[in-house]
């Protein structure tokens, strides 16, 4: 990957954009399912049985996505962004990636520590990744809630920043990640 390819494009690669929107939908769904299921008696069982496999799918996809990102060329930031804004954008990206990796691991880990069978579907289940300890479960269960709220706040900030660029600054920020192809101007 040469520096030149980086400068050629204004958009993230097709695979990156595809993964971004796929995962955005999945993560939003996971946050909604998670919040709804712990407040529900009637839908708890249905929602938890979606929550586990979807969360593990996110774990797999975030690894693929991260590798894909390292192998791809990235478009430069729009010129409208100040160094502080660029820093904020990079930091929030790093935070989002970290949360998307750690949150499903915490989910898997807490069920491991409680020695629940971690059923994905049918008889397919995951092996435990942590030793048996209900105290550890309790800590991780709280961590899972905390990280979910943090992830939600990070998402709201991310969404707000994009809206701000799209509607106020109007610097083509959204088109960098647009699902459709945007020709370089």
């Amino acid at each position: 990957m040469s520096a030149r390819t980086t400068t050629d494009r204004q958009q993230f690669t097709g695979s990156m954009r595809f993964l971004h929107w796929l995962m955005a939908a999945m993560v939003l769904a996971m946050l909604g399912i998670g919040i709804a299921m712990v407040a529900s008696l009637g839908d708890y069982r249905r929602l938890v049985s979606i929550h586990r496999p979807l969360g593990i799918l996110i774990l797999i996809l975030v690894v693929i996505r991260f590798v894909n990102r390292r192998l791809s060329s990235l478009p430069p930031f729009p010129a409208t962004m100040s160094p502080q804004e660029r820093f904020a954008a990079r930091a929030s990206e790093a935070l989002l990636y970290t949360l998307l990796l750690v949150q499903p691991l915490v989910g898997w880990g807490m069920l491991s520590a409680a020695r629940y069978p971690i059923v994905l579907f049918g008889s397919l289940h995951l092996f435990p990744i942590l030793p048996h300890s209900v105290m550890l479960y309790a800590v991780l269960r709280r961590t899972h809630t905390f990280l979910a709220y943090l992830l939600f706040l990070a998402f709201v900030a991310h969404f707000g920043a994009i809206l701000f660029h799209a509607l106020i600054v109007r610097d083509g920020m959204l088109s960098r990640m647009a699902p459709w192809r945007v020709r370089a101007r």
């Binding site: 069982r45 709280r142 707000g160």
Partner: protein, 382 residues
């Protein structure tokens, strides 16, 4: 987010940026926004963000304080019985057991679950008394519980929590909850208000009918000669993919003996179980009752008609007993929806609710320091 002024600055000074001067798509500067337009757009952004936050709060039940949630259910158990650090919020008093299940293979035509192929699987379990007080005095009329975990060879698990009642008094979680509230003791008289109890029964005829059935079964003398019932229906799927609805019963091999209840000490039921299991292994037949089309699968207050097919699928043997303090069963959540492939929930509303509430109770007690159990290790050894 940087204030607008910063962006203006960036626009005018971007010539110094690294790659930016040649690449960034800044050829066409958008026309500046009028103040009113700008305000409208900012307001729109605010509304969108608030909408997202509001939608999530709504999903989490923040706008429906009356909605019965797992947390509110467990709060109610705690209001009734107090918080006993490290103990279950219901069925708090118990001892743990170990043993095994010998499947005779007869269940395989109902369910493809590995548990029903011929062979032996290890079991851990816990006998308990209903109620949230871990130091309650044993009483013949208190509900007896048995939680079991079958560890299947390929890492799958089957967990079940059964009680000794032939029907459940409540058809859905709301009824159970409303009854907890109605039976709360008055702080002055230390007695539940009989008017509230009567009002509950009047508005829940199915509970009155279930209680009549329960009263017609005199409790046996101990944990060992008691039958335990799944109560909730489950859907079994066999290797051909055919579904049947079943309820199961553990029928004791130990002969029935009516309880007398005369001059008993505080832990007589548990002490009786310990003495009995230390004499000889205790056994139960696991009987599947198979529903006919039309039998209610969503209402545990109703028995299925007499004469339904019964399949004896194997024998449970429990041969050792331990205090909760030394046995892993204390730290197990006997969630009735931990099921292997081949067993699935029915549409009984109690099942999802139990899974949710047990998880909440388990999470709370998991993080607490564990106080000594009423049935101590020395009690089990004596």
């Amino acid at each position: 987010m940087a204030p607008l002024g910063a962006n203006e600055d960036a626009k005018t000074t971007n010539g110094s940026g690294e790659l930016l001067s040649e690449t960034a798509p800044m050829e066409k500067h958008p026309a500046p926004l009028t103040a009113r337009n700008m305000f409208a757009r900012l307001a729109g952004i605010g509304v969108l963000l608030l909408g997202v936050v509001g939608a999530f709060l709504y999903l989490g039940g923040w706008f429906s304080p009356q909605k019965l949630t797992p947390a509110r259910f467990v709060d109610e158990f705690e209001r009734v019985s107090g918080i006993h650090s490290g103990f279950r919020r219901n069925h708090a008093k118990g001892v743990c057991v170990r043993g095994f299940f010998d499947s005779n293979g007869q269940g395989a035509r109902l369910s493809k679950a590995v548990a029903f192929q011929s062979g032996r699987v290890p079991v851990v379990g816990r006998f308990s008394l209903g109620g949230g007080d871990p130091h309650a005095t044993d009483d013949l009329s208190t509900v007896r519980g048995l939680g079991l975990q079958f560890s299947l060879p390929d890492g799958e698990q089957w967990r079940t929590a059964m009680i000794d009642l032939p029907v459940f008094p409540f058809k859905d979680p709301q009824a159970f909850y409303d009854n907890l509230v109605a039976s709360q003791r008055d702080p002055n008289t230390h007695q539940p208000d009989p008017a509230k109890g009567a009002a509950f029964l009047a508005s829940h005829p199915e509970t009155a009918r279930a209680l009549a059935i329960i009263k017609s079964h005199a409790p046996s003398s101990g944990f060992d000669n008691t039958a335990y019932y799944s109560l909730n229906a489950f859907r079994f799927v066999n290797a051909e993919g055919a579904s049947t609805y079943v309820r199961w019963t553990l029928a004791p091999v130990q002969p029935y003996e009516a309880g007398t209840g005369a001059s008993q000490d505080k832990n007589f039921l548990f002490d009786g179980l310990i003495a009995s299991i230390q004499q000889h292994p205790l056994q139960w037949h696991l009987i599947m009752t198979v529903a006919q089309p039309g039998d209610p699968t969503d209402n545990a207050t109703i028995q299925w008609p007499e004469g339904r097919e019964q399949v004896d699928v194997g024998t449970l043997t429990l041969d050792s007993v331990e205090s909760e303090e030394t046995n892993p069963a204390r730290d197990i959540n006997f969630d009735p929806l931990v099921l292997p492939a081949g067993m699935a929930p029915s549409n009984d509303p109690l099942l999802s609710a139990r899974s949710a509430v047990y998880s909440q109770s388990f999470t709370r007690r998991a993080g607490e320091t564990k106080e000594p159990s009423e049935i101590t290790p020395s009690e089990v050894r004596k």
